[in-house]
Amino acid sequence: MNAASVWLLIIGLAAIAWLSARARATLLEKSAGRLATHSRAHYHGAYVALWTLLPAALFLIVWQNVSPALVTNAVLTAPEAASLPADAFSRSTVLSEARSIATGHAQSAFNPQSQALVAPYRSAITRYDIIGAVLTLILAFAGGAFAFTRVKADFKARTRVERLVMGGLLLASLIAIVTTIGIVASLLFESARFFSMINPLSFLFGTKWSPQSAALGYGAEHAFGAVPLFWGTIFIGAIIAMLVAIPLGLMCAIYLTQYARPAVRQWMKPILEILAGVPTVVYGYFAALTVAPLLRDFAVAVGISGASSESALAAGLVMGVMIIPFVSSMADDSINAVPQSMRDGSLAMGATKSETIKRVLIPAALPGVVGGVLLAVSRAIGETMIVVMAAGLAANLTANPFASVTTVTTQIVQLLTGDQEFDSPKTLAAFALGLVLFIVTLLLNIVALRVVKKYREAYE
């Protein structure tokens, strides 16, 4: 009997339990009277069904994790296992080969010893599967029977069921914490392994990034200087992209909130938001195939040296466009939060609309706008596909926007998508870069949210 059919069986049992307990509770309701029963019939049904399903399901999950080890132990005690090689590695190779034949994942054995173990494996698997299925069914029946005897007129089935639902809700909300812990733990753990091989200072302050040469075996200690990556990330995400996104986003927000007619505003806002909804891989393709060649031809025509077909400018420009709706909606919010009285006061003094905006609204909304820009920067430096496709791989420390630079996210992708063993510093470096990225974006977000919050409170 395989696992899926056991699952179906206990779910079927739970359904039967639900129906029969509900029927019994309905009878009780009829004989004792509606007001004499504490819970409605379907709560009794749910109570019995849960008692049937949950203990059995929990046991089954545990069993499915434990039984492979039990099966292996049983096989090792079989007479055929006496001839197994002594060292652990070839032993486990033979065992896993025999297992995959026995479970039908493989057709024939490469190793004759495995073939001999197939029969013991098969019988052990069948034996433990049957034991597991029988125990599960006993648990389901026992749970169901116990709960069924408790179906009485005054039994508080609803309270019990609701307590379980509440527990489920709490459990679900803890997943967010578990995920955060998982991210921090996996980044810290792998980074710690990286920093046990490479000095953290030479990683953070070194200026030479060449993990390829480190993989070949010479000079690993000085091949992981991440400064060119940090510079590339800042150059593209925080300088070029923001030079595009801040003026355009701010002016879009000002025009749409202060000048545009409602009909124009109603149409233009969703259109701008489409810009944020286009997948980044599409932007990346666009940057690499359309924008980058245009910029390179321009640079060559003007006579700028070092022009490359993968340029910081192409990636930064397109990333800036992607960020426009983000900046615009943050600016929109903060301008709207400026009290009407300030605007009215300025207009009443005879200032024109643009003077009111430039001298009153923007200064008053500045903290909110700055917070929005910080959030935009944190999004820009974490953006991956545009820079992977358009920014290039050369770790240059240059301020020439037409040259190729590389970023933290590009290198993470580059380091982890080759065929590398998982213990090399080259692969682990990706996690160290990820840790830096995580910390920086986290700090930017905390600071930005604090600034925005403080500013909101000032006018409330």
């Binding site: 809700l169 967010a176 995920t179 879009c252 997948p279 666009f286 996210t409």
Partner: protein
Amino acid sequence: MSHDRTPTDWSSPVMRQRIARRYAAERRFRLMGLGAVTLSAGFLLFLLVTMLSGGLTGFLRTDIALPINFPASPVMLEPAMLKGPNAQQALANANLPAVTTAAARATYGDKGEELLSDSAWVAVRDALLKDPSLLERSAVIPVPAASDIDLAHKREGTAEAEATVARLTEKGALSSTFNLDFLTMSDGTDPTQVGIWGALKGSLLTMAVTLLLSFPIGVMTAIYLEEYAGRNRWTDLIEVSINNLAAVPSIIFGLLGLAVFLNAWMLPRSAAIVGGLTLALMTMPVIVIAGRNAVKAVPPSIRDAALGVGASPIQVVFHHVLPLAMPGILTGTIIGMARALGETAPLLMIGMRAFIATPPGGVTDPATVLPVQIFLWSDEVSRGFVEKTSAAIIVLLVFLLAMNGIAIYLRNKFETRW
């Protein structure tokens, strides 16, 4: 004021000039705003037009008319063999590639088969299946052209291919048809024979896993935080983690998936289930935040009324608040799913960039997804892939637009103003 001053003479030339200057600045500022909006919208238009003009031809296929004289050809088939259950087997034994090559040489000269796609014989097979009586006469069958001919016919190709196309066009041998294969086939090495079905199916499987995990967990978290949680340290911790998760770069989720799902839990590489799990962690905060806003928007009077007639707190939420908040939650969920559908970077981390030539059969089979397929094709050297990449982008954008359209429709139709 301690001293007298003359009132401002607003009609003096100096003041007039000054006011004119201020009004000009006002107009300039307004124009700048209009320019910013136009520029942003223009960029979107430029992007879409580039993709459409580059990609629409990707849905077309160039066919070459190939006359085959079946009775004279070395094909070992009788019309009777093509009726009944053994037709596929009979066709597989008939050595149609050789027949096709021979026919191409007979019509288009010594290297005639190079004009045709490697899969040209498949078109011959399908034609025979459709009409077995072709075997008794000679017939002209349109078969797909080779990649360079295809390119030269649709847009510009190499000089050599252009010359061949001109020659073929003169004969009237070229025609364009809708390339159904692009929607039904998977990744391949020949750009005339690739399709997006494999990637699309991978995307659908991944999205199914993501939705099944993130929607219940997200909605339950939102309900718990908004309706039941007391103000304490744990609640604050949950809130802070959700807000942080919403702001973590997507590639970090890929690192988590690699370290936990692949290396610690030993789940299969490049499988839809791992992709779905990773994207579910990413989508969950979006659903939680949207769900909380939707639950918050339900007025307290509803809760008070339900409590007043004797509902338990759980009944209040599940019978009254949740149904009223559902449109808002669904809108947020669709937007989160649309973002997950377009996501590429975390899936590269968990190995979904493998070359997958067969559509995945289940969530544990190696799979790729549409955005990753776009990324892989954009890296191909062969020029035929350029239009296929744009065509795949068009399909992806159509899906995203449809999802966002549904979200906006839901919001407008079911949104209640209390």
